[in-house]
């Protein structure tokens, strides 16, 4: 069954079928072949279930806000302001991108929303100063991973429920790994900028910086509204996405008057187009998940692999491998829900700290959302930046290698997770 499923998916994928086809057709075919008594209708409910989670609404909202900002003036003012401080530093833009993604991801909690909200404006600037597109997109996609690792993290909330572990402790445990990821990406970016000889901007005078800062004062309300609003509990992360649309609307339509209100439906339409392209895949992924869960495929595989009385390190390695592969195909949150209960008992028997296990698992979930073929951040980037799939993933190998190395560090040094607790 696994072979049938994978063969259908890989063949259709490589032939350049729209990705929704392998995701939606493969489960249907498996149902026809292996479960002929079941009503295929059951997959249809999964399509809508996949896209109904409330938190997913942040994605179209941030796309909409970003579309309004980049059509108007806000985004340029913000970027000019940032550029005036870091443009003359080697790798400055790349490190700023990584930092902005990390911060925004930490707060919004959504890797996809981060790709959109930070990635859309920052990518244009990176291209302008000489970065190649695959490099810029890989940096954005991978830096956005941190959203799942640093609090508030939906991945950790789900793991906390499934395992009965303290969510507060998990949040704290994710901080050091999050910082390690950010530092690795930053160092890589600086070295890359040097090797690729990315041109530097001239140092900007303080009076010019002051002028750009004043121009950016209103746009700077964005991060304040989003960060402040979420931290004070005024609104939830999803609502913050809505507020950023409102803020973009107020700035561009009412204050700068750079967009006429009649243009809004047109901008919304392009947002809708991108949203649809991404969400049909999320819907298909849910149907795919349903079939493999129903057929007990994860249990079948893991039971054979784990054997009896595995060592702690072996369990962690298997956790890493399985979550990594799982997240390549299915939404990370679902992978956590499905696989955690399978590994958890073996991990406890092997004496692994549940918080440590949670960090290792969440880390793989984060990595998986940026890993081909079905990493959801890749779809999002491909749709939002309107770039072919291959171009989006071309630059990712160095990041995946760094993430894999960090995975091993996390496995072997539990202190990295447990130090702050």
């Amino acid at each position: 069954m696994v072979a049938t499923l994978l063969t259908i998916m890989v063949v259709l994928l490589l032939l350049n079928f729209p990705m929704m086809i392998p995701l939606m057709a493969a489960p249907l075919i498996v149902l026809f072949i292996y479960f002929p008594n079941l009503d295929p209708m059951i997959l249809m409910q999964q399509f809508s279930t996949g896209i109904e989670p409330y938190v997913l609404l942040a994605v179209p909202l941030f796309i909409f806000a970003a579309d309004i900002m980049t059509t108007g003036k806000t985004s340029n003012r913000l970027l000019d302001f940032i550029g005036s401080f870091i443009g003359h530093i080697r790798g400055g833009y790349a490190v700023t991108t990584a930092a902005a993604c990390t911060l925004f991801g930490a707060i919004s909690g959504s890797t996809q929303a981060t790709v959109v909200a930070i990635g859309k404006p920052m990518r244009e600037r990176l291209l302008k100063i000489g970065y190649k597109d695959p490099t810029a997109m890989a940096l954005i996609i991978n830096s956005s991973d941190v959203a799942l690792l640093v609090p508030p993290s939906i991945g950790m909330i789900i793991y906390g429920l499934v395992s009965g572990t303290s969510v507060g402790d998990l949040f704290i445990a994710g901080i050091i790994p999050g910082i390690i990821v950010f530092l690795s990406f930053s160092i890589y970016s600086i070295i890359y900028a040097k090797v690729a000889d990315i041109p530097l901007a001239n140092k900007v005078s303080w009076s010019e910086r002051w002028r750009l800062t004043r121009k950016a004062l209103l746009p700077l309300g964005f991060p304040i509204i989003i960060i402040g609003g979420i931290y004070t509990g005024l609104f939830s992360p999803t609502e913050a996405a809505g507020m950023s649309v409102l803020y973009a609307f107020v700035l561009e339509v009412l204050i700068y008057r750079s967009i006429h209100i009649k243009e809004l439906p047109k901008i919304a339409r392009s947002t809708g187009l991108v949203t649809s392209a991404v969400f049909v895949l999320v819907a298909g992924g849910q149907a795919f998940t349903w079939v493999i869960s129903f057929a007990r495929i994860p249990q079948m595989i893991t039971e054979t692999v784990l054997g009896t009385e595995p060592s702690a390190i072996f369990v962690l390695l298997m956790v890493t491998v399985f979550f990594f592969i799982g997240c390549m195909f299915v939404d990370p949150i679902v992978v956590i829900l499905v696989l955690t209960p399978i590994f958890y008992p073996a991990a406890m028997d092997a004496g692994i700290d549940p918080i440590h296990l949670g960090v290792v698992i969440t880390f793989q979930a984060a990595l998986g959302s940026a890993t081909p073929p079905f990493g959801v951040d890749i779809f999002t980037a491909s749709a939002v930046f309107n770039k072919p799939y291959l171009e989006v993933i071309k630059g990712t190998p160095p990041y995946i290698i760094m993430m894999v190395v960090i995975s091993f560090l996390l496995i072997f040094f539990e202190e990295l997770s447990l130090l702050l607790i």
Binding site: N16, L28, M44, S48, Y54, V245, A268, V280, A283
Partner: protein, 185 residues
Amino acid sequence: MNPLKIVDKFILKVEEFILSYAIIIIALMVVGKALSRALFTYTPPFADEVSQIAIVVATFMGISYAARKGRHISMSAFYDLAPFKVRKILAIFIPLVTAIVLFVLTYFSALYVYDVYESGRVTSALQMPSYYLYIFIPIGFLLGGIQFLRNMWINIKHRDEVYLGTDAKDYNDQEKEEIHEGTHL
């Protein structure tokens, strides 16, 4: 204008309208809910449900629009390397099979909608029949299937060009120029 073109134009307008306003409605609902709770400690109970309906509508009604614009995501690694002739064949074969799959999905999802209709289930906040929400799934698949057939047809009709969608030519054949850059038009 021939009547088919008028129908096509009409469907396009409807799709565009639905996509635009689905997104705008989501924004209004989410913002409205947050502001209302923050300012009046009142949370409109229908807000989440309306947003969720809108996202289902946008997702499935967007299938055919994205197909028209050649914007569905695919793994084009090998396709991009292929010579014109192979791409041309694929550009006929893929939309055909895609359309067939979408028609099969139309059939099953229509059955599903009927099942929900028969159950009499209503949504929790609006107490509106649940099938109102699901009906957009078969409609979306159907319109998507039709559009992919049109994508196939245009590739058969125009022999010397490859189309990714009726409104989008293959970027592989466009010399280095930035093609339909950005998402806003």
